[in-house]
Symmetry: C2
Subunit: 219 residues, 2 copies
DNA sequence: AATTGTGAATTCCTTCACAGCC
DNA sequence: GGCTGTGAAGGAATTCACAATT
């Protein structure tokens, strides 16, 4: 276990590895080598080993990794052994959908509230029953509910203002879906998922099909 | 203009640059240098110049870039001057939300249909009126509507099967939201947006806050 | 004087290849 | 014999820094 800084690419892959291991576990596989895991899930075996090596020695030479054991370690490393409490700012289509989306309400994460500024939305709930609060109550509810992750699904032109509010509450992790580059203090972790950019870069490849697409792009 | 292969990172940034230019244009800015664009939108000026240089010489030394002119070029390069017709496979929460999401129904893209296999969903429409069809009609409707981009929002365990169906229709660009690594022919461009991975890597940073977050992570 | 476009330098990431261990 | 863990090699992306240009 070294204490180098871990790249974002590595952490994303850890999360992928964990999911692979969970699949293997469900299929009753108890032991796996980096090679056969790579083959099965279209990964690179050296990279798996290198990524894991940042955090310790989890394998047995000549044998491989014990699936459940490694999964447990990754769960711990990713901080998924404790529950994260999540809120979503912006109760529009995307916000409400994410709120009810199975992939978001999964082990380790619980969505506890939606926020909006529209009086017509405030007081209501999502389909699954998550309440919509006035954005003015943000700080209060973040405190009360012990929120540690905030998802931003407000329109682009409101996003920076909302992010500033969020930072004031002391929350340290933000997942932004608004198509803007936001500014936060360096002690806050901001990730932006820009759906428009994803679509547009597909469009680029349609216009430039001469170049065969990369075989297996990261993420 | 060189004919090297353009990296995915570059194409994503082009899309960001275009948005920045559109903002500048709305604000009545006609000319901008890479430096001031970088400052304003938290980018790197050398990178802007280098990215653009793959496609031509769009600037004037000593002056900068003409906003509308460069925007036009980027629109063309990204293939956004022609409309793309998009369908979404999977009419669950996420699929329906994306269907009505403003950021998706934007210049250059039109969502023409949803698909599902659930008889209860087939025949209905999204809130904004996009029809939900039986997945069995996929090929037929792709042909009829001239669809060139497919979005996948089905559950993980159905995703590979749906992607195979999509590939059979001849569509060459797929945006996948299912949390699995999918396999396609190299002549098809597949991009995966893995929302769970994004959340989990935030969780990692919460558990390992010792390391100050990178100042401005890519995308 | 200012800013582009771009080789060179640097940093970061991936893959190779093998010593070390089971 | 087989597989891990890792130093070294190779490749890619970013940033620097400046000659070229208006």
């Amino acid at each position: 276990m070294k204490s180098e800084k871990i790249s974002e690419l590595t952490t994303k892959r850890l999360s992928v590895y964990l999911r692979c291991l969970q699949t293997l576990d469900r299929n009753g596989i108890h032991t796996i080598s980096s090679r056969s895991m790579a083959d099965q899930f279209h990964l690179n075996s050296a990279q798996i080993r290198k990524d894991l090596a940042y955090f310790g020695e989890f394998g047995v030479r000549g044998v491989g990794y014990q699936v459940s054991h490694l999964a447990q370690h990754l769960t711990k490393i990713l901080g998924l052994n404790q529950e994260h409490r999540v809120i979503i700012c912006g109760a529009g289509n995307l916000g409400r959908a994410l709120c009810d989306y199975a992939g978001f309400n999964t082990e380790g994460f619980r969505i506890v509230a939606l926020f909006d500024q529209d009086p017509k939305k405030i007081g209501g709930t999502s389909r699954s029953g998550v309440p919509v609060h006035d954005i003015k109550k943000l700080k209060q509810i973040v405190r009360r509910e012990g929120v540690d992750i905030v998802v931003i699904t407000v329109p682009a032109d409101a996003a920076q203002k909302v992010v500033d509010l969020v930072c004031e509450t002391g929350v340290k992790a933000i997942l932004n879906f608004a198509p803007v580059r936001l500014r936060v203090n360096t002690n806050v972790k901001l990730k932006t998922v820009d759906l428009k950019v994803s679509l547009e870069s597909l469009s680029y490849y349609l216009s430039n099909p001469s170049l065969p697409a990369a075989v297996n792009p990261p993420e």
